[in-house]
């Protein structure tokens, strides 16, 4: 991945920075320039809640090339306590024990490595509470 593209997303991937619409209060992750609800363009930066629950999940058995060494791994759509939904890996879990509604929390993790000399890509994953 070209380094500017990786670097641009660091506030979201490392610090979970989201944009909260100053007019209607809707939270966007990643932040946006215009609110899809009320069309306001004024946002404040907030940090996402770090805990939430699994809304749905899958176990990836056939993985994209940069994730092959991690397969099989679980991924889920998680609704955080502030109502924001994210897609992330569910790490450190027993694959056959996952359930909809299960409580998870966000941790800072390595996502994948771009070969021997490439960038090590970091970001968020969820783990069962």
């Amino acid at each position: 991945m070209p380094s500017p593209r990786y670097w641009r997303e660091i506030p979201q991937r490392y610090r979970l920075e989201a944009g909260k619409c100053k007019k209607c209060g809707k939270v966007y992750f990643p932040p946006r320039i215009i609110c899809a609800e009320c069309k306001s363009q004024e946002f404040e930066t907030i940090n996402l809640q770090r805990e939430g629950k699994i809304l749905t999940y899958t176990i990836i058995r056939v993985a994209p090339s940069q994730f092959v060494d991690q397969a099989p791994y679980a991924m889920g759509i998680v609704e955080l306590n502030d109502g924001v939904k994210i897609l992330s890996q569910i790490a450190d879990c027993e694959l056959d024990k996952l359930e909809i509604g299960q409580k998870v929390r966000i941790e800072f993790r390595k996502i994948y490595q771009e070969g021997e000399a490439g960038i090590i890509c970091y970001g968020y994953k969820c783990v069962p509470v």
Binding site: E9, T56, I59, Y73, M75, L87, G123
Partner: protein
């Protein structure tokens, strides 16, 4: 707006066409459509293609394909909306004729997917999802639809066997389509024991990687009456809508809002209701997709798509036959060509040219073509004149 007829159909056998290039398969389908229509020229052309750049390192299809079809300097455009690119091309052609800008338009769709490795194809397809907030995290397309399937099973009690039944039914239909990539009949047992890709979806829940093209000729209805010797079919409804690109941004993970809005618009324009539709081609990129789509289009109650499939309502001979062509599952899914091929099937059926898989007395047909995990959708309704 002028009334628009579909007067020419072209489609070649789909599959792994190693001996043929993108330009070859497109040109073959286009020539067949032109011949079928009886026109002696075309005024403009639209081609749906998702990712020739990633699949064969070739952009600028507008020029390439007009050139190799021998029709330069007519206006030509390549349109893209991921797996709904073909349906979008149909809409662009429809608007072109309806507006009076062109009288005769060629609409094609093409994708050449087997020149890259499976990894390369998986990557190209994944660009239809949010690269930074879905793909970066490690998701795949089977994974996204698997999460929809899990949510549908949890909310409505849809079963593993009901999902499998979609694939069984579509392969049964495909076995009667000589152009299908995988015309083999399969059983529920074959599906539920096939290799797991992304739980709960297995390989036989997934549409394949395919090389293929399809083309149709659109023409103003008045002109069509002088040119065509075939039964005339007109487009009576066209709906197009979008939704969030990321699945996780949606309020209900089992709801396809773009499909719902596109269908509402198409039904309204055509002045038809779900019960007026005799058959439909839907975007069954994964078995769960067909279940969600038939619910959204109003053919079955919300949450009952699995049960309806199991009961045979969507099988040939049932109340509303779905994917008589074999669907994406059996016929194949060269992404950019799919939306055009759906129209080819409906027109074949409405003309009474569908052979063994003919739906009796078919007068009104519908197509639903969807991009990504549902971020864009095109719906068209066609009727015998």
């Amino acid at each position: 707006m002028r009334e628009v007829a579909i007067i020419g159909l072209g489609m070649n056998k789909w599959g792994e066409l190693w001996e043929k290039s993108l330009r070859d398969i497109f040109t073959e389908a286009a020539l067949e459509a032109i011949k079928d229509s009886g026109v002696d020229h075309i005024d403009s052309m639209y081609v749906g293609c998702m990712s020739s750049g990633l699949f064969v390192d070739q952009e600028h299809l507008a020029s390439l394909l007009a050139d190799y079809l021998g029709v330069t300097p007519i206006p030509s455009a390549r349109v893209e909306s991921a797996c709904a690119s073909g349906g979008l091309a149909v809409r662009m052609g429809f608007l072109d004729v309806a507006s009076g800008m062109s009288d005769i338009v060629l609409v094609g769709g093409v994708e050449k997917m087997t020149d890259v490795s499976v990894d390369g194809a998986t990557f190209a397809l994944s660009t239809a999802a949010d690269q930074e907030y879905e793909v970066y995290q490690g998701i795949t397309f089977p994974g996204l639809y698997a999460m929809m399937a899990r949510a549908h099973m949890h909310k409505y009690g849809t079963t593993r066997e009901q999902l499998a039944q979609v694939a069984v039914k579509n392969h049964y239909h495909g076995s009667m389509n000589p152009l299908a990539q995988f015309p083999q009949r399969i059983t529920v047992d074959n599906v539920v024991k096939s290799v797991m890709v992304a739980d709960p979806l297995r390989i036989l829940d997934c549409s394949p990687i395919t090389d293929g093209a399809a083309a149709v000729i659109l023409c103003s209805l008045d002109l069509a009456k002088n040119i065509s010797k075939k039964p005339l079919i007109k487009i009576i409804g066209s709906g197009h809508a979008t939704d969030t690109i990321a699945l996780h941004s949606r309020n209900d993970l089992t709801e396809l809002r773009a499909t719902q809005r596109a269908a509402e618009r198409a039904y309204k324009m055509a002045n038809k209701k779900p019960e007026d539709i005799d058959l439909v081609e839907v975007h069954d990129c994964f078995t769960i997709a067909e279940i969600c789509v038939i619910e959204t289009l109003g053919f079955v109650e919300k949450g009952k798509g699995g049960k309806a499939t199991e009961d045979g309502i969507t099988t040939l001979g049932g109340k509303i036959p779905v994917n008589t062509s074999g669907g994406l599952k059996s016929k194949g899914h060269p992404v950019g060509a799919t939306g055009v091929a759906q129209v080819v099937e409906i027109v074949k059926q409405l003309r009474g040219e569908a052979g063994q898989r003919q739906v009796k007395n078919a007068k009104v047909g519908m197509t639903q073509n969807m991009g990504g995990s549902g971020g864009s959708t095109l719906v068209h309704i066609m009727e015998v004149v």
